[in-house]
């Protein structure tokens, strides 16, 4: 499970970085979303992976899973959700104000083929 989770985080991060470097605003927004997914999974994994144990110390259970990263992830999800909504609105506004969806607001020759 550890290797699979590490792989997922790695792939999400790589996809996020690649998309964030694209010249159009839509892939950039998608890239930021992927990055926030990756970091949420990463934060979650920092509490160590455990299956079938309660998030509280109890005599009845064999062990416990750290509840703090779950609280951190919750905060991070809320923040990244708000930020994503904001950046989408901003991208739409930029599309309206600048007349195209290039992040620099310019239509380059090379971009037509990208």
């Amino acid at each position: 499970m550890d290797a699979l989770l590490a792989l997922v985080i790695g792939v999400l991060t790589a996809a996020g970085v690649f998309l964030a470097l694209r010249p159009r605003t839509f892939p950039v927004v998608l890239g930021l979303t992927f990055l926030s997914y990756a970091v949420n999974l990463f934060l979650f994994a920092m509490g160590r992976l455990a299956v079938g144990v309660p998030p509280i110390i109890s005599e009845a259970a064999a062990g416990y899973t750290d509840p703090l990263p779950q609280a951190l992830v919750l905060t991070a999800i809320v923040i990244s959700f708000g930020m994503t909504a904001f950046v989408i609105v901003l991208a739409l506004k930029a599309r309206a104000e600048l007349g195209n969806d290039h992040v620099d607001g310019l239509e380059h020759e090379t971009d037509r083929h990208a």
């Binding site: 970091v39 990463f42 920092m46 904001f86 950046v87 901003l90 104000e97 992040v103």
Partner: protein, 503 residues
Amino acid sequence: MSFADHLTILPVLLPLAAGIGLLALRGAGIGVQRAASLLATLALVPLAIALFAATADGTHFVYRLGNWEAPFGIVLVADRLAAWMLLVTAAVAAFALLYAVNGTDHEGRHFHVLFQLQLFGLNGAFLTGDLFNLFVFFEILLLASYGLLLHGGGRLRVKAGLHFVVINLIGSTLFLFAVGTLYGATGTLNMADLAVRLAASPAGNTALVQSAALLLFVVFALKAALVPLYLWLPAAYGQTSAPVAALFAIMTKVGVYSILRVYSLFTGLGDGPLAGLLDAWLLPLALVTLALGVLGAAASSGLRQQTAYFVVVSVGTLLVALALGTPGALAAGLYYLPHSTFATAALFLLADSIARARGTLGDRFEPGPALPRAAWLGGLFFAVAVAVSGLPPLSGFLAKFMLLQAAVSTPHTSWVFAVVLIGGLIGVIVLARSGSLLFYRSQATEGAGPPPTLAALVPVAGLLALTMVLTIAAGPASEAAGDIASQLHAPRLYIDAVLGARP
């Protein structure tokens, strides 16, 4: 608990309450909103002064939220450095708002709400003693700053805003990766507890915590606009409205503050895997930042963009002081911090008045119409330029003098002297050229805009007066800065205050 016990959290609660209250007042007309916003911002000044006076004897005020004990709950910590930053923030915010109520606040919606939330984020970031809480306050101040940056709209502003938002979102992601790694390695997020555990972290974790600490440094360097992560700043600060840019003069200092706070704790205990981690990086980066900032100012095509580059220069100078690391250099940096914030904020506000007076030409460096009230504008420009470039008799000169004096006894004397002095000289030349172009090389007599109102010039004069106060009170001010530096060099006091805090 008495009032004094709650003093620590008031600078955080007041802007939050004011922001929410202003949201409820949005139908009440701009006059009421202005009065409420000004009142809330001005009330921060006595609060900051009270906190500054209370911490002056070296006490750490630890405020445990929800009365949870230190490593488990979130704490707010007010020490000399936090109070110093709060004081500077309150002063700059008051004058920026005083300028904004002349009409800038009416160009878009919810200016005052966002302004208060920005102050909420700033004050929280200065007071918090918890690393994840620092992230949350960063997000609050950033989200408010996105709204403020775009306030008023316009093509270039939206473009600069998009870049600013995207780069800061990536910065936030990196912050979370760093915080997550530190938590995974140490199991704590309280900064004092982190300092203890990092110093005692096992050898097998060295690479892990070092990479996390360096990742954190990248995030703070992005906020502080350190080379090579400063490229977003000139466009964002140069395009936004003047009072927002003036308030943003303190935002880069949040990055500097975070570097100072976090690394004085993480590396201050002397042993452990993080000792001396930044030593090899900080000084060269700071010197290059200073040099590139000056060159950017020289190449700027408009006064506001030039001012934005002077913000980069001030960050470079501050980080040179941090990198030298001796108590003397740190004291010089902490004395330079309010000066540079006031001076660049004043220049942003003045640049807006000049741009308005030049009519359609704006702040671009082209020969334009003769300015109305040129004597007033020119006189203020001269004084502000003296402050920004660090010439005598104002406090910038004293700060640089203290910095160079502190650099004499370090092994990097020649580099620091060369870059700071040559950078200062180029800064003087650049500002002299801008001034003579704006005020003397006027060709047409027509096309000038409306003359600046007195209400627009008062905030500039007020910020200038603050640098004069810093000059006249240079003795006590530099002594206070020295006290902060000595407190930062004894992180054990901070750790004991936080972890030893019991009801």
